[in-house]
């Protein structure tokens, strides 16, 4: 059969045209996405990678709310200069509890995947509330409101942990029970700093 004849048929029957588009446009997804999603290899946590504790989880959701990933990647590529600058390159298993993933697509600011422990909590706090107090040339926005609000003002932490447990994050009943107490008295900036300080912990050490 000739392609031109097939085309003649497709463009005369809207049902066939729709079917043709569906078929042709789905192949790429079937090849790349389906195996990636169904293959366990990409979802197995790396050694030392555990679900976020309630404080870090809350901090992570603040990171998402403020779209930090617009300017900061969390993905150290296996390139010499990148490993020298940021530390060991990122592995798939380190992100097994990241919903959604926050690798980002742009580095207006530096990568943060290995930032955990590099600076003190006190520095992060100053820097988040007023970046130019410590980095004069910085073009990062200031986030003064983070210091003014309780970390979990919506009271959502238990619902969040239960939702994640349904997706396979191994939170115990006791952990969920104790979560609000862990957040008691903390502000948003405390939670965000806790999240940042935990970043990349499972892959630290041994940077060349």
């Amino acid at each position: 059969m000739r392609a031109i004849d097939l085309q003649r048929r497709l463009e005369r029957h809207s049902g066939w045209l729709i079917f043709g588009i569906l078929l042709v446009s789905s192949i790429g997804g079937l090849v790349q996405v389906l195996p990636s999603v169904l293959d366990d290899g990409l979802a197995t946590p790396a050694a030392g990678t555990v679900p976020y504790d309630p404080v870090a989880l809350t901090g992570r959701d603040i990171y998402i709310r403020e779209s930090c990933s617009t300017c900061h990647s969390q993905q150290v590529r296996p390139l010499l200069a990148e490993v020298l600058r940021y530390g060991p390159f990122s592995k798939a298993g380190e992100f097994a509890f990241d919903r959604p993933f926050l690798w980002g697509s742009k580095r207006t600011g530096p990568d943060l995947h290995r930032v955990g422990g590099k600076y003190s909590d006190a520095w992060h706090r100053i820097h988040l509330l007023d970046p130019r107090a410590v980095v004069p040339d910085s073009i990062m926005p200031a986030y003064p409101w983070l210091a003014e609000r309780p970390a979990d003002s919506g009271g959502m932490i238990q619902a969040k942990m239960r939702a994640l447990r349904r997706l396979g994050h191994p939170y115990t009943d006791a952990e969920i029970e104790a979560a609000p107490a862990a957040l008691q008295g903390l502000t948003e900036v405390d939670a965000l700093v806790a999240f940042l300080q935990g970043l990349g912990a499972s892959g630290s050490g041994g940077s060349p």
Binding site: R2, I4, V31, D39, G41, L80, F89, D121, V134, S204
Partner: protein
Amino acid sequence: MAELPGQFWSGWVLVLTLASLAGLVWLVFSLYFDGDQKTQDAGPIWDGNLREGEHPAPLWWFWLIFISLVISVIYLMLYPGLGAFSGALKWSQGGELHERLDRFSMEFGSTRRLVSEAKLETLREDARLMASAQRIYDRNCAVCHGYDAMGQADLFPNLRDADWQWGGDAAQIEQSIRHGRQAVMIGWLPVIGEQAVNQLTDYVLALGRGNAASHPGAQAYKSYCSACHGADGFGNVQLGAPNLTDGVSLYGSTREAIHQSIAEGRNGMMPAFGDRLDDTQIRLLVAWLSREGDDRQ
């Protein structure tokens, strides 16, 4: 080692990819070479003036897609792509990094080892090495201690003065960089009450001015502070207890700042960089930060 899919998915990827590429090739070949290029039926006219043109598709375009398909197939022969077939070159991104790191050690390894073992004086005399040291400082230390290393934010110490809370000789600086520091001063307000805190604040201010002799706070100082800061207030670098007599105060020299330090305590923290920096980098930083003295005579 490249991450490759399991057997079933490998076959799935291989078959669907090759079959669909073959379909694309068929489409292109059939449209170009079905021997029917000229005889185009007139076709309908949509919306008054929209018609299909009768020109054959240009041959250069055929070559464009043909060549890109050939390149693709060659690439998929050489590199991982077709399921579990890891490619003739056995390339993986981790492997590529290892190769780069090997080349890095071949190119710079001996120089860097020499640097890590060199005398500090020698390093200090080499302007190019000091430029490298400053680069290391800028990348790792400057956001806290300032790009001029003069400290900032009433929280991060000045590294350009003679006042080193944890000691300023080379070994002590190296220790600070490699393992970090954690200061522990408790808040005294709940222990001794507001009146005593006020008295101590005045005493520390007087110590800084050098006129603490016969100050009424001396007794309280001796009871609560001298164990760490010393009987005369000269501090103790082993504990990171700062000298109180030199008029330099990390957290600010105002009465309010000193009052706050005593009442609420201070827990200055320097992270450990032993995992982030190698021996060469630490050696260069020590040389750049310390002015004289060497622990490896």
